[in-house]
Symmetry: C2
Subunit: 247 residues, 2 copies
């Protein structure tokens, strides 16, 4: 809660680690663009940090909503389930991205958020975020941008699901992942997938066998090297070119 606790080294260290002002994701996350003084106020608000183990839910559809979550480390998927059991993965989220925006509308979460690897999140009580964003214009505006960006991203997914063929979808998916890893300082050409073929398929509106075949095809063409979840991109332009081959 308090930002500085000089009388207790133990707590102080923990708090420093939790602070937005000290987080190397602040340029990707909610604190973007805030002054030092404003950052301090945000620190006060982001009180809770939580570990989520691989496979565990951060929240479930139907649960009450009272906070949004910033991913500090790790990897998540969000999905919605139909009554008959069909699953649609609506997104994969990585460090610095926000989870839970869907819950604002009805005060209840409308999707599930599940950790795909051991993760850490910062809980941001939503009512306090609204208070603070009335006072810090930059925060208000940035939050609006983040929500809007989510809407734009969703439009991209609709485009993908509505008009692209299987290989285009997978190429778009890989390029998107690569770009997001790059933004976080990781290699753009080599990474581990945290999700299964089935989860990729659900996200892309394809069956896992189709995803697997597309991976193999890309490998044959020399665009990528696949070994289970380990991906190396060998020819970015090859993948990009795939995406303009309509019909």
């Amino acid at each position: 809660m308090a930002r500085i606790q000089p009388l207790n080294q133990e707590i102080s260290l923990t708090v420093i680690k939790t602070a937005c002002s000290n987080c190397n994701l602040r340029e990707l996350c909610l604190p973007f663009g805030l002054s030092t003084e404003e950052l301090a106020r945000l620190d006060d608000m982001v009180s809770t940090r939580r570990r989520i183990k691989r496979g565990d839910h951060l929240y479930r559809a139907g649960e009450g909503f009272d906070a949004i979550y910033a991913i500090r480390s790790g990897f998540f998927k969000t999905d919605v389930l139909l009554e008959d059991g069909r699953e649609q993965v609506t997104g994969f989220q990585m460090a610095g991205e926000l989870l839970g925006l869907d819950g604002i509308s009805t005060e209840h979460h409308t999707c599930n958020a599940i950790a795909l690897e051991d993760s850490e999140i910062c809980a941001i009580p939503f009512s306090r975020l609204e208070v603070l964003s009335r006072e810090i214009h930059t925060l208000q505006h940035h939050f609006h941008k983040v929500m809007s960006r989510e809407i734009v991203r969703d439009h991209g997914v609709m485009m993908l699901l509505g008009t692209m063929r299987a290989e285009e979808r997978l190429a778009a998916f890989l390029l998107n992942l690569s770009q997001r890893f790059t933004a976080r300082g990781f290699s753009h050409a080599e990474f581990y997938l945290r999700m299964t073929r089935e989860e990729i398929g659900s996200y892309l509106g394809l069956k896992l066998e189709t995803v697997s075949r597309a991976f193999s095809k890309f490998q044959e063409e020399g665009y990528i090297a696949v070994q289970q979840k380990h991906i190396r991109i060998l020819n970015v332009n090859g993948l990009k070119a795939l995406m303009n081959h309509q019909r």
Copy 2:
């Protein structure tokens, strides 16, 4: 601009017509939940009202963003275009709904908004909305809810595109339209489609022939009566039942 102009009957009438406080859509639109006094302040902000003719753009992808738009009357579609010309319709919007939220993220619109019939919109300068929502908590919260609702809606579309078969998609589409017409005081069972089969198809990730065949099928089954764009729903439960028949 000014809410009351008693010295000029002509202008006064126009202004009264434009005012949110006087708009019968206020329970569906941004003014939801505001007090009389707060409504008056919103009125001051929503200065511009514009007519958009059928077929005309309200805004285009790439254009600078500075306002969001409330639909006062009429009907719109939003779409995104791929370089190679493929179109994805991302939504159909009717009276009381907001357009332009996609533009906040980059300060540029990322999709096109096109009137499907002669329409009227209220322009809401976004920077002024941010100022006002710092002062009126209800407005702030409601705006956040509206953005969040859009995200939830998008998830529903992903579900539809990713996991449903053609007839399920069309059934979901018709039920959604029916429900939204009902909320606006129109018949839930009888309405005119403002969009072509091709636009429906683009939204649903199907070709126009498939949409047409599904309409015919529904008619054969006695679920609906179709005559071009005129739709009568004869058996809502029949349509609903369709949506749980996975595989």
